[in-house]
Each structure stands twice: as C-alpha cells, then as structure tokens.
Symmetry: C2
Subunit: 230 residues, 2 copies
Amino acid sequence: MSLKRDPDSDRGTVRRILDTAEALFAEHGLQDTSIRQITQAAEVNLASVNYHFGSKENLAEAVFERAVARVTEKRRRDLAGVLAEARERGERPELTAIVSTFVEPYLGDGNDAQGTLMARFILLHRLSPSEATQRIVKTHLNPLAADYIAAFSLACPEIPANEMTWRYLLMASTVVLTATEDRSRDRIATLSRGKRSISDRAATRDALVRFVVGGIVAPVQGGFRPFPEP
Amino acid sequence: MSLKRDPDSDRGTVRRILDTAEALFAEHGLQDTSIRQITQAAEVNLASVNYHFGSKENLAEAVFERAVARVTEKRRRDLAGVLAEARERGERPELTAIVSTFVEPYLGDGNDAQGTLMARFILLHRLSPSEATQRIVKTHLNPLAADYIAAFSLACPEIPANEMTWRYLLMASTVVLTATEDRSRDRIATLSRGKRSISDRAATRDALVRFVVGGIVAPVQGGFRPFPEP
DNA sequence: TCACGTTTCAAACTCATGTTCGATTGAGTG
DNA sequence: CACTCAATCGAACATGAGTTTGAAACGTGA
C-alpha cells in the first residue's frame, strides 16, 4: 500500500532535515534554531518537519539519538580494539589509549561539530533532563560507560571499582566541557599571554588526556581539605 | 532631584527582582524563565523589570555579575587564607586545600543553587558567548584565574607554567559540570548498582577534589595515544 | 497645599515561533 | 485511464514572549 514503510529509506527530505538540523543544532543550539531556519537551509517545505517528525522536540530527539549512536558505536569499536591489542600482547591496556578512544569523537580531527553537538546534548540532559534525553542516555551511553569503567579497572587495578565510577563520570564531564572551549578560545590565549601555539587542537587534546589520566590514577586517600576561614 | 541615584539603595523592587530572578535562573535556566514568572514570584509589576533594568538581557547580566562577583570574592579570600597559612608555616601550600577553595562555591553545603547558577553562566558563555558574558569573565574570573595558576605552580613547581594554564581550565571545566550532576543524580546510582551512599554530596566533593588534584600533578610527558583502527 | 519627578500599575502591542489546514502534486496500481 | 494515498506546498492559526504605553499613585520639597 504505502510507498515507503521505512522512513530511513527516504534519502530525500527526511535525511536532509536530519543533516541540516544536526549542523544547525551544533552551531546555534536547540533553542536558538527555528524550524524555519532548518527547513530553509535544507530547502524543504516548512511543514515537512511536523509532517515527518510530528514536532520539533521529536526532531531533536531523532537528531541527538542518531549522533549519540554514531559516537557510541565508534567508541565501542575503538575501545574493543585497544583491549584486544593489549590482550594479544599479554599486557594490561594502557590508560592513555583507553581515554583517547573516549576523547576522539569530541576532539578528533574534523569532529568539531559532532563534539559540540554531543556536548550540547549532555548539557541539556544535565540541566533539564527529559524523557527523551534519559532514554537516550540509558540506551546508548550507560552500557558503554560500564565497559569503560571495567576497562579502567583492568588498566589500573589498584583503584577500587567504586572510585572508578566516579572517575568515569568526572572524565566525561571534563571532556564534554573541554569540547565547548573552542568557542571561547581567546581565553586560553589571554591567560597564557602570547603563546598562541598553546591553543592548537592537538595541544588541547594532549593536555586533556594527561589531565584525565592523572585524575584516574590518583591515589584514593585524601579528599576535600577544609581551609582556614577568616 | 531624583529620589534615588543609586539603584542599590532600593531595598524594594530592584532587590526583589534580582533575588527572585537569581533563584529562577538557577532552577530553570535563563531561556526557560519568563519575565512574567519572575515578576509574579517577586510580587512586583510586570513592567518593572523593563523599567529598572531596561531589558531581560540586562537583568540577566546583572544577576550573573552579582553572583560571579560574590563567588569570586569568597574564593579570593579563601585562597589568600590558604596561601598565608602556608607561608606562616614556611611550607608550600597544599594543592588539595587550594582546589577546595575553588570547589567550595559550587559544592559547598548550601551552595546548591549558587553552584547551578554559576554553571549555567559558564555554559552560556562557552556555548554562545556575548558581550556581557565576555565582560564578566574578563573582569571577575580571569584575574583570579591567574592567581590560581600561580598558586598551583607554588604548590607544584615541577609542572611548567604553560601546562598549569591548561590544568586550571580543565579543573574549572570539571568542577562546573560536576555541579550540574545533581539533576541527573540517578545516573550515579544506576552505574554503581545500589550503593546509594556514593551519591552523597560530600562524597561527590571528595571524589572531585581527588580527581582534579590528580590531574594537576600528573606528569607532563605522554599525551594522546593513537589507538588501533580497524 | 501644590508641583514635580519617580515608581507602580493594567493593558495593549509587536513579533517570532511551533503548529495546523486544505489544496495540489505525483508516482504507483488496478 | 481513473483511483489512491503519501508527500509537498503556501497560507493561516494560536500562543507565548519581551516590550511599550499612558495613566494613576506615591513621596518629597517649595
């Protein structure tokens, strides 16, 4: 009866809307992107978003889920690669390599827009979680999180599993927010007067990985230290 | 001529708007808080926001600047206290104590709303910086950032100053995003099955400080490690 | 008491946005 | 060819938002 049962088979309007919306959401954010902007840039009719997706909210959900799934799949493959290679060598996996697989979708070459989009999604979920964001997190992010925590424990057995859960979340926080730093990049130049090379993308990535690895392998004793009150 | 030259002397409407807006911005965010919500909660007239502040944007600027200034002043005092106390003892300041002064306004007891508001401001500045946010960052945050970087170098002289700039920014990123974690706190419980005590606020703070200190003292050699591609 | 500037108030205005509607198109099908 | 139904299109609709307006209320100094 119907001409197309699977929306994914439509290589036209639906796909065009998704791609355009993804780019615009990454650039301007969800709230600051109107359906009119999307449909105009995608060269489709204004009503087509509501026709194909039902609402702007549903469109956003589809855009985010697609991006999250893409990132998660890449991470899963890369992480498995690191673990397999370590197993072959009969050694423990390198923490730096594990962390790098996590960082790559955010700060890897050419992943600028994708990283910003992911960051926007995470921040949206953190600051005003919805049914949709919770579902995406639970479906795509949480399972892989468990894998990462296990990998961390494999690479660094002296840290208790409890603590590793914390450190995974802290790593994720650091990476996400660092991915947004490009937009106020001048700040880095400001704080480190003149040294322009410091704000290279590769330098960002290296410093981030070092920092995160240091945080993960930190000794567990000692925490919040009260300081003198006047 | 005029009855009140200084808006700060008005302990009525202006102050009420600022306080109410601050609370609502922290709770729902800037975009999801309408002037009507603010004026209704503050029990003032709808038009009073535009009368006293000119626009919603100006109100937001005033709210954020007041909060940032408050946080910055507290940090400046606490940091100075830590450094002075170390100088008295003739020892290097403790990194943990320094980091704690930074974390306190976000995750200290009773600072929940303030921490969320600060986080929202930083994220706003990161994702869509404006003249106003840049001015506030430059005026209030950047000078203190230099002090923190210097303090880090004092506590940890083996790390080059360049690297410390990175690590300050990374610390700030981690702290900011961790301050937003309460809203999706169930995630921590989910990832660490059952162990409810792990999501205590004090535990969050301790784990955060350990992680950040570990990142700051991490050795500088080694960075992004390429991983096997299929 | 009167005049004057400031503040408050209710109401209206302007505008952008998400959404819906009815008509039209166009490819597939008997 | 006629029929069908998903897809597209232009236009209108409804609403929530920030802002503006002009009058009223208020306090203060001459």
